[in-house]
């Protein structure tokens, strides 16, 4: 793979939190390369460091060892260049702003002119299928709709890299399926690079081109699966033998890494 297509390049990344009860090893010697256009899922039991890893990529945590590059720069430089859009576990919408106001927030901060702001907000809202909800306040929307707004918010400033920390974790199965399907289409259209934290095996198998399986204490990568599925996915595909094989392999990986202490 050519150097220019590397989006994330991490080499022996360590992250240790100093706590009152002594150091906690959140990440240990993480080697991971993510290429342009990849959809990478980080999956593992809680405490395996998947959220820590995505936060290190986003420069929300500073690694205590090793080296990591985002688009060839340090994570801090990449953050200052606004290289990525981040979607949190909860929608994190500002309650005092309408849907449209929330979508314009990053654009206002980045100093984009007013007319362009409205255009991009409308465009992003269309992508998540919420046209017509511009003037609603967050509390007037369901949880799933709020999370779609938060995804739209991350798309407004056209980042090439999307970092998503269990964006659908708090939603019920049906809504989650819908959003998975919807989001897959969005990814196909936009060709963005996505790093996606999840603890759902079907979600990881359905969405990803690459699945990274992690295990806790200390958080490390124990398996890396290149998805054998075709790039275009449908929800029906989840009944095919290939999909079930893939899910099985992920589950085996998780089981192997799970410690019962």
């Amino acid at each position: 793979m050519e150097e220019s297509t590397r989006v994330v390049e991490s080499c022996k990344v360590d992250l240790v939190f100093e706590t009152a009860d002594g150091p906690v090893h959140a990440l240990s010697k993480i080697d991971l390369d993510i290429n342009k256009g990849d959809f990478v899922s980080l999956i593992g039991p809680s405490g395996c460091g998947k959220t820590s890893l995505i936060r290190v990529i986003a420069d929300l945590e500073k690694p205590t060892g090793g080296e990591i590059k985002v688009n060839g720069f340090s994570p801090e430089e990449a953050r200052l260049k606004r290289a990525y859009g981040y979607v949190f576990q909860s929608p994190a919408l500002y309650s005092w702003r309408t849907v449209e106001g929330n979508l314009k927030l990053p654009l206002e901060i980045m100093g984009i002119e007013k007319a362009e702001q409205s255009k991009r907000a409308a465009e992003a809202l269309k992508m998540v299928d919420l046209t017509g909800f511009e003037k609603k306040f967050p509390w007037q929307l369901s949880g799933g709709m709020q999370q779609r707004v938060s995804i739209a918010r991350a798309l407004t400033f056209y980042p090439d890299l999307l970092l998503m920390d269990e964006p659908f974790g708090a939603l019920d199965e049906i809504v989650r399926d819908q959003l998975n399907e919807h989001f897959h289409k969005l990814w196909e259209q936009t060709q963005k690079t996505v790093v996606f934290v999840t603890h759902s095996i079907p979600e990881a198998a359905y969405l990803s081109t690459k699945i990274v399986i992690m295990s806790p204490r200390p958080g490390k990568i124990i398996d890396l699966i290149d998805s054998p599925l075709p790039k275009k996915r449908t929800l029906d595909m989840r009944e095919t033998p290939e999909f079930l094989d893939l899910s099985h392999r992920i589950r085996e990986g998780l089981r192997a890494g799970h410690s019962y202490d």
Binding site: A58, D59, L60, R79, L80, K81, R82, Y84, G85, Y86, F88, Q89, S90, A92, Y94, S95, W96, R97, T98, L105, P106, E108, I109, M110, F137, P138, W139
Partner: protein, 298 residues
Amino acid sequence: MKEVFEMNWLRTSSFVSISTVLAFTAVIWYAAAVYLNSAVLIDKYERHKVEWDFSKLVDDSWSMDRPIMPAPHQIIFDLNKSIFKQKISSKRSLIYHGWVTISSTMVGFAMGGILGILLAVGIVHVPTLNKSVLPWIIASQTIPILAIAPMIIVGLGAIGVTGLLPKAIISAYLCFFPIAIGMVKGLRSPDPIHLDLMKTYNASKSQNFWKLRWPASTPFLFASFKVSIAISLVGAIVGELPAGARAGLGARLLTGSYYGQTIQIWSALIVASVLAATLVFLMTLLEKGVQKRMGVRL
């Protein structure tokens, strides 16, 4: 605004409960007037060897010139006389005195509000201020205002500052505190996740403040404002007590107590409490308006 009125005033159940409480208060008040005034009256009857019975005692105790405890109707007559039957510019008009007090209340509230908000902004953004200023702010409120008010009035008078400003300073001294404390809490109220979000956008400090911390703090701001504006009125009245101010509700209270004019004292007290209630009510309306714009579920 129309909805607020409908909600608060036209709901019959609340009308019934309010009038019940009022009636109950009136009964207790009239009884208390008889009880508290009776000793003086009985003493007077005996000195003047006047024949008296209970109904005469009740009548007299509700119509004394300088009662220990005036009856409600005496206060209402006095209010009527000093509000509606006087020229507004007259020294006997409670509207005149109320206006004097209200103007220093408002100036003091504005000063205290700005001071409180600035202190909170400093405390939230500068760690040293958090450690060094906050204890002083708290200490400042342990000094009884009655002790410090005369010193402020006299001290400022010595350098030629008199009139509205010294009183406003006393108001500000009282009302910056709840605003500073409330706003420190309010400016710190955003979730970590919201702060992280701003960080991913590489937002500047001022963007962080105006787009996140400031709007997030508005519920705290209004809660503090409602407390402060009432305290500010108290501060203005206290500021009128020492050094013999000639105008203002505080001055009315003071002259009333010099001359034993209890009815006058009660009238001034009632005007003060109606003013305080009105100020808090107006603040609530303002809050509702802002909440509506900010999409708060009402």
